[in-house]
């Protein structure tokens, strides 16, 4: 009798394992075909594929479904539904859902603005190493949104985000070093972080790096290099760089200006 029960339990367990083994690839396939449909702009198919997965508690499907409700893709916009889905995925620890949920609480679009809740979810994602959340969290500390203003913490989170390659964080870290906000002022460090963002094409960092070269702050003064970076930023229509370009080139010789413009051409041709 007992052996019979054990045997039955064994069979059940085996069947369960089999079912799981079969179901897992099937679930992946569903997600994948949903993703392909989504990318084609076939949102109703994506919805059909992802809804059952979300129902079964799949965080990624819940998150994606949430974005579709948020953006009104294939469904009428429903921010309340989006927020519910993201909440569930966020509770499961899915970083992107935590990030979006935080931003819903900040924007107050479709839900009552709650900056404290936003900070809570940013913390969750930031502690998991999500750069975008680390950056926003840094900004929350910097402006005192949902938390008391705290420049040291702001610096710490923005530094983490910058270290993970977030370009806006890199630029902001440069600014914080320049101004001695949350850390000891250091033009050398400012230049280092501006350069990282500038190399990635971030216009504001390019303009700030140009200023450091022009003033010889944290780097050896070099007007050609200053003009080069200012042109790179001005070419992206950054107003202060358009003005800065005029200003810097006013004090330079034609040969120096040529050299800077040649640098720009070489950069854009990919031979930086």
């Amino acid at each position: 009798m007992r052996a019979g029960k054990l045997l039955l339990a064994g069979i059940r367990a085996t069947l369960l394992c089999l079912a799981l083994a079969l179901a897992a690839p099937a679930a992946r396939a569903d997600f994948e075909s949903g993703w392909q449909a989504y990318q084609r702009g076939d949102f109703s198919t994506a919805l059909d594929e992802w809804a059952p997965l979300a129902e079964a508690g799949d965080s990624r499907a819940m998150f994606n479904l949430g974005t579709m409700y948020d953006e009104g893709k294939g469904v009428a916009r429903d921010l309340k539904r989006a927020t519910e889905l993201w909440s569930a995925a966020a509770e499961n620890g899915y970083m992107r859902a935590q990030h979006n949920l935080a931003h819903v609480f900040i924007s107050g679009d479709g839900i009552e603005r709650n900056l404290e809740r936003a900070v809570h979810w940013l913390h969750e994602a930031a502690h998991q190493g999500f750069g975008k959340s680390q950056y926003t969290l840094g900004k929350m500390f910097s402006y005192g949104l949902g938390v008391p203003r705290d420049q040291v913490r702001a610096f710490d989170w923005i530094q983490k985000a910058a270290q993970s390659g977030n370009v806006r964080a890199e630029y902001n870290l440069g600014k914080m070093y320049r101004d001695g906000m949350g850390a000891e002022a250091s033009f050398e460090n400012a230049v280092l972080w501006y350069r990282r963002a500038a190399d990635q094409g971030y216009a504001k960092a390019q303009a700030s790096l140009a200023r450091r070269y022009a003033a010889g702050e944290g780097v050896k003064q070099d007007m050609v290099e200053a003009l080069f970076w200012m042109i790179m930023a001005a070419d992206q229509n950054l107003p202060r760089a358009v003005a800065g370009r005029e200003e810097i080139s006013a004090g330079m010789s034609a040969a120096e200006i040529d050299a800077a413009e040649e640098r720009v051409r070489a950069w854009k041709a990919g031979s930086n």
Partner: protein, 206 residues
């Protein structure tokens, strides 16, 4: 009722609908401009050969070209514009533009068969033309929407939308004022950024 959301929906309808009345088609530059915008947007919405990202980019360009986002942005910040420093102005205009563009382009695929008809056009002040339209909806009574179009340097751009007499710019300005009072200009920028800092669908596992 969230008037802003309705206005955004209407803006989309304006952009996607090409069924203008005969009278309007014969009319002046402003309707030609709107017609052209609408044709372009319709083209993007109907052409599903490109990727979603490509279509969103195209739609975005049409929006940026159709609306004077800088002018609208300055107006809705009201008196705080003068108090903002250069850095804040730059950040604000970027965040505002992105905020608006994001709202509109998020509606790709959300068109539900509304039809718009130009009712009339009239001059407003020296610079502007108001294009009055009626939007017939499958889901409810028709709505009246006025589009304020301004010509500057030979280019026409939409600078405001009035729905049933309520201005989007004025409504937005009141909202922004209360945010700035509580959180400052930097807080407003952060809040505007939040809308466009949300992540879209992904295949990533975490």
């Amino acid at each position: 009722m969230n008037i802003r959301r309705i206005i955004f929906s209407l803006a989309l309808i304006l952009l996607v609908h090409s069924g203008w009345s005969q009278a309007a088609q014969a009319a002046n530059e402003a309707s030609g401009f709107v017609q052209n915008l609408s044709d372009q947007a319709m083209g993007v919405l109907q052409d599903d050969s490109g990727s979603l990202a490509q279509r969103e980019t195209q739609f975005r360009i049409i929006l940026v070209e159709g609306f004077d986002l800088k002018l609208i942005g300055r107006f809705v910040l009201g008196g705080y514009w003068r108090k903002a420093n250069e850095d804040q102005r730059e950040n604000y205009l970027r965040a505002f533009g992105e905020f608006i563009v994001r709202k509109y382009s998020a509606m790709l695929g959300g068109y539900a068969g509304e039809k718009m008809t130009v009712v009339s056009e009239q001059a407003a002040g020296e610079k502007d033309i108001i294009v009055r339209t009626r939007i017939d909806r499958p889901s409810g009574p028709p709505i009246e929407a006025d589009w304020r179009v301004r010509g500057q340097g030979g280019t026409l751009r939409i600078i405001d939308v009035m729905v049933e007499g309520i201005s989007m710019a004025v409504t937005q300005r009141a909202e922004f004022r209360s945010v700035v009072r509580r959180h400052g200009i930097d807080g407003l920028i952060q809040i505007l950024d939040a809308q466009s800092s949300k992540l879209s669908a992904t295949a990533a596992a975490n």
